[in-house]
C-alpha cells in the first residue's frame, strides 16, 4: 500500500541515496530566466551533490559549469553576480574564461614547469561542463555535459500546464532580492511533495481556505515522471472573477480555462498557475526531516495603479464574504489551523505527519483510490529511481 519504507522518510541513508541517484541525475530547478538577464550575469545553485553555476555569454546563450576550481577544488563563484568577464578562483587566482577554459595560472613557469607543454586551455584543466536549459520561463541545470535534452524530460507534461507565459510576468517581491516565501519545514521533502499532489485533502484540510476552486471537478494524472492537476473556479467566484480576483487577471487565460494548474515536476519543483498568479514551489531537502521551501511568485506586468484598483474591487466583492475567508478551526490567528492561510495548514499537516513517523505504531492505514493515487505513484517513481541505480552499483 505504501511504496516506500518509513526509513525513506527518516534515515540519513535514504537521504544520501536520493541525493546521489535522484537530485544528481535529473534536471534541477535553478531559478527564473531573468535571474541571468545579461551577458556576464551568473547564479550558482546546489543540485544534489553538485554545485553548478550558470553564466550568460555575449551570444546570449547560457553556459553551465561545475562550480569548482580544477586546481584544488575550491568553489569559484558565490551566489549571484553581474558583469563577469572571467572567473578567478579566490584561493590561488587560477583564472578561467566564460567558456570554462583555463586562461591563467600565477607563476606557471616556476611552479608548474611540467604541467603540460600545450596552451593552458589544452591542458585538460578546463572547468567541468554541465548543462543548462529553459523550460517555461524557468532555468534548469543538469550535472552532465551531454544531458538528455530537457524536453525529453518535460515534454510529456507540457501540454497539461497552464497558458501562462512566465517571462511576461513580473516577480512579486516584498523585499529586494527576496523570494515571496521561504520556510524551513520540519518534514522530509517527500512528505511535502505528497501533500502537494494529494487531491483528497483539499476539501478537508483546506475546507475554508481553498474553496474558491472546484475540487470536485479536478482533473489530474501522471505524465512521464510528473504530476499534473487542474481545477476550475467555483461558479460563484467565476461569475465575479473580474472584480473578486485579488490581483489583475492573467491576460493569457481564456474564460473556459480559468482555474488553477498545479503540476509537480519530478523530483522537487511544483508550479502553481492560477487565474491571477504564477508561482514556483521549490522543495529543497536539507536533512531527512528538514526541507527548505522557496516560493517565488509572479503576477501581471501592469502598473501599481492597476494593482490598487484590483485590490479595491476585490475587497468589496461579495464573493469573499462566503468563501476563502477563515481557518478550519476557530481560534487565535497564530494557530495555523485557525490562520485562514492554506500554506500554514499544509505545513502543520506535514510536520505532524513527520513526527508520527517515529512512533512504533505508525503505518498508513489506507490510501484513497483516486484522491491519493498520485501519492502512491510518486512514491513508486522515487523508488524506481533509487533502485535503478542501486542495483547497478
Amino acid at each position: 500500500m505504501h511504496e516506500l519504507p518509513v526509513d525513506a522518510y527518516t534515515s540519513q541513508e535514504w537521504f544520501n541515496l536520493e541525493q546521489e541517484h535522484i537530485f544528481s541525475k535529473t534536471w534541477q530547478f535553478a531559478g527564473l530566466v531573468e535571474d541571468v538577464a545579461n551577458a556576464g550575469d551568473y547564479i550558482s545553485v546546489q543540485a544534489g551533490l553538485n554545485n553548478i553555476f550558470i553564466v550568460k555569454g555575449k551570444d546570449n546563450r547560457l553556459r553551465a559549469f561545475h562550480n569548482m576550481c580544477r586546481h584544488r577544488g575550491t568553489q569559484l563563484l558565490r551566489a549571484v553576480g553581474k558583469g563577469k568577464k572571467a572567473i578567478t578562483c579566490p584561493y590561488h587566482d587560477w583564472t578561467y574564461n566564460l567558456e570554462g577554459k583555463l586562461v591563467s595560472i600565477p607563476k606557471k613557469e616556476e611552479e608548474f614547469p611540467d604541467l603540460c607543454n600545450k596552451e593552458l586551455h589544452d591542458c585538460g584543466l578546463n572547468l567541468h561542463e554541465a548543462s543548462v536549459d529553459i523550460f517555461k520561463g524557468m532555468l534548469f541545470v543538469h550535472p552532465e555535459k551531454d544531458a538528455p535534452n530537457i524536453m525529453e524530460f518535460f515534454g510529456e507534461v507540457e501540454p497539461y500546464l497552464g497558458p501562462h507565459i512566465p517571462e511576461e510576468l513580473i516577480e512579486y517581491q516584498e523585499k529586494k532580492d527576496g523570494a515571496f516565501y521561504t520556510k524551513e519545514i520540519n518534514a522530509n521533502w517527500k512528505i511535502i511533495v505528497e501533500n502537494y499532489i494529494d487531491q483528497y485533502h483539499l476539501a478537508h484540510l483546506h475546507e475554508d481556505t481553498l474553496n474558491m476552486y472546484d475540487h470536485a471537478k479536478a482533473e489530474f494524472g501522471w505524465a512521464g515522471p510528473h504530476y499534473y492537476f487542474f481545477e476550475p473556479l467555483v461558479p460563484e467566484y467565476l461569475a465575479d472573477v473580474k472584480n473578486a480576483s485579488p490581483y489583475p487577471l492573467m491576460d493569457k487565460m481564456p474564460e473556459d480555462k480559468m482555474g488553477a494548474y498545479v503540476p509537480w515536476l519530478f523530483p522537487n519543483i511544483g508550479i502553481t498557475e492560477s487565474e491571477s498568479a504564477w508561482n514556483t514551489f521549490h522543495a529543497i531537502p536539507l536533512a531527512p526531516d528538514r526541507t527548505l521551501v522557496v516560493i517565488r511568485s509572479k503576477t501581471m506586468n501592469v502598473s501599481e495603479w492597476e494593482y490598487t484598483k484590483q485590490y479595491t474591487k476585490s475587497m468589496s466583492s461579495k464573493v469573499w464574504q462566503n468563501i476563502g475567508n477563515k481557518g478550519k478551526y476557530e481560534g487565535d490567528a497564530s494557530d495555523p489551523m485557525a490562520s485562514g492561510n492554506f500554506m500554514e495548514e499544509d505545513v502543520y499537516a506535514c510536520e505532524q505527519q513527520q513526527k508520527s513517523l517515529s512512533s512504533p505504531l505508525f503505518s498508513v492505514g489506507a490510501q484513497a483510490k483516486n484522491g491519493e493515487f498520485a501519492v502512491r505513484k510518486f512514491q513508486s517513481v522515487v523508488k524506481e529511481w533509487v533502485e535503478k541505480y542501486r542495483d547497478n552499483d
Binding site: G57, K58, D59, N60, R61, L62, L98, E99, V132, D133, I134, N149, I150, M151, E152, G155
Partner: protein, 359 residues
C-alpha cells in the same frame, strides 16, 4: 562517388529576374541512392562549347518533404554555367547529376530541442532553405531564427515560400530580412500592409548580427549557427559570431567559391606537369593560366572533381615537387595543406616543374 546519373528536368521556374530553380525527377529505383541531408548539394555536368564543365548547386528542397530535388541557380556576371542554366534548361532535358554530397548539413532528430540561427545572403539561401524546412518539419520543438540579406525586395529568392513558412510556424520561426538597397517606399508598404513583418536596412554584417542575436536570444539553449552567402559575408558573419564567443564547434559554413577579386597572383607559363592518376603517369605542359585539373581534363584524362570552385576537395592531390598557388581554398584545412595536399582545380604553377599524385 564521382558517377553521374541522368535526371530529367521536371520543372523550371523563374524565381527572380536573375535566378531560376530547377526540379529533377528521380526515378523510383534511385530514390534511396539520391537521399540527402539538408544543406548538401548536387554536382551537374554539362558540355558547353566542346568543354566538359561541372558545377555544384545546393539543394533547396527538403528531404523530409515529398518534393522533387530542387536547386536554385543565380546568374553570375559572365559566368559560364549559371547563365547557361538560366538561358537554356527546359522541362524534359536530361542532365548529368552526381549523388548529393557535402559536409555542410544539419543532423536532425525528431526529439532535438535546439535553436538554429540561420544566416543567408543572396543565392546562399538555397542550402539554408533546405535546413530551415527540414528543421521545422522534423524537430517539432526546435526554434529557427533567421537573418536573410538581399539587395532589395525584388532579389529575395523563395520569398513566397518563406512567407508561407512564417505563417505556418509563427511560434517557432523568426525571419528578419535585411536589405542593402531597399526600394524607397518598401518599408512603408511592409509596415502598413503586413504589420508584424520585420525588416532592416543594411547587410548581414557585425552590427546586424549582434543586433539580431540580442533581439532574438535563444530559448532552447543548445544552439547552432549556419552561414551561407557570397563574398566576404561568410567570413564577416563567422567573425561576428566569434567576437561574441560563439564556440567554433557550433558554427557551420558553406561557401559557393568565387575567387576573391584581390587575388592577382599569376602562374608560370608552360610549366611541365607530371601527374600520377589512376595508376598512369601523365606528362604534359600547363599552358598559360590553366589549373592542374583543367590541364589534365584537356589532355583527355579523368581526374576526380566536382565543384571546380575550391570547396568540395574532390579534386585533392598531393604535391610531390614544385610549388603552386591555390586561387581559392575552402576545402582543405591547415594540417592537410601542411602535409602537401592541394586542390588541383585551384592550383596554378609557381615553378617550372610540378609533380603531383592523386591518391
Amino acid at each position: 562517388m564521382t558517377d553521374f546519373y541522368q535526371l530529367k528536368v521536371l520543372e523550371v521556374k523563374k524565381e527572380t529576374a536573375d535566378a531560376t530553380s530547377i526540379a529533377f525527377d528521380v526515378p523510383l529505383a534511385l530514390y534511396k541512392t539520391f537521399n540527402y541531408k539538408p544543406g548538401q548539394y548536387l554536382t551537374l555536368k554539362f558540355n558547353i562549347g566542346g568543354e566538359e564543365v561541372r558545377r555544384s548547386y545546393s539543394l533547396c528542397s527538403s528531404p523530409a518533404l515529398e518534393e522533387p530535388l530542387r536547386i536554385g541557380v543565380k546568374r553570375v556576371k559572365d559566368g559560364l554555367v549559371s547563365n547557361y542554366i538560366n538561358d537554356n534548361i527546359k522541362v524534359g532535358d536530361l542532365v548529368d547529376v552526381m549523388l548529393p554530397n557535402g559536409r555542410f548539413f544539419a543532423e536532425l532528430k525528431k526529439d532535438n530541442y535546439k535553436t538554429y540561427y540561420l544566416f543567408a545572403a543572396g543565392s546562399g539561401i538555397t542550402p539554408i532553405l533546405s535546413i530551415l524546412k527540414t528543421v521545422l518539419l522534423t524537430e517539432e520543438r526546435s526554434f529557427v531564427h533567421m537573418l536573410y540579406g538581399n539587395r532589395s525586395q525584388d532579389s529575395i529568392l523563395f520569398n513566397e515560400e518563406l512567407e508561407k513558412l512564417q505563417k505556418e510556424y509563427a511560434d517557432r520561426f523568426i525571419l528578419v530580412h535585411t536589405l542593402s538597397r531597399p526600394k524607397s517606399n518598401w518599408s512603408d508598404l511592409w509596415l502598413s500592409g503586413k504589420k508584424d513583418k520585420i525588416h532592416r536596412k543594411g547587410r548581414v554584417d557585425t552590427l546586424a548580427i549582434e543586433w539580431f542575436i540580442n533581439e532574438y536570444p535563444p530559448y532552447a539553449q543548445n544552439t547552432e549557427y549556419y552561414i551561407c552567402g557570397p563574398g566576404t559575408m561568410i567570413e564577416n558573419t563567422k567573425k561576428a559570431l566569434q567576437d561574441i564567443d560563439v564556440p567554433n564547434e557550433r558554427i557551420f559554413i558553406e561557401s559557393f567559391g568565387g575567387v576573391t577579386s584581390s587575388d592577382v597572383t599569376e602562374g608560370i607559363d608552360n610549366a611541365s606537369l607530371v601527374a600520377q592518376l589512376n595508376g598512369e603517369t601523365i606528362k604534359t605542359t600547363i599552358s598559360n593560366g590553366k589549373t592542374i585539373l583543367r590541364t589534365l581534363i584537356d589532355a583527355g584524362k579523368n581526374p576526380p572533381y566536382s565543384c571546380e570552385g575550391g570547396v568540395c576537395s574532390t579534386c585533392m592531390c598531393k604535391l610531390k615537387s614544385g610549388k603552386v598557388h591555390m586561387k581559392n581554398n575552402l576545402g582543405l584545412d591547415k594540417s592537410e595543406v601542411d602535409k602537401g595536399y592541394i586542390l588541383s582545380c585551384q592550383s596554378i604553377p609557381l615553378t617550372e616543374k610540378i609533380e603531383v599524385i592523386y591518391e
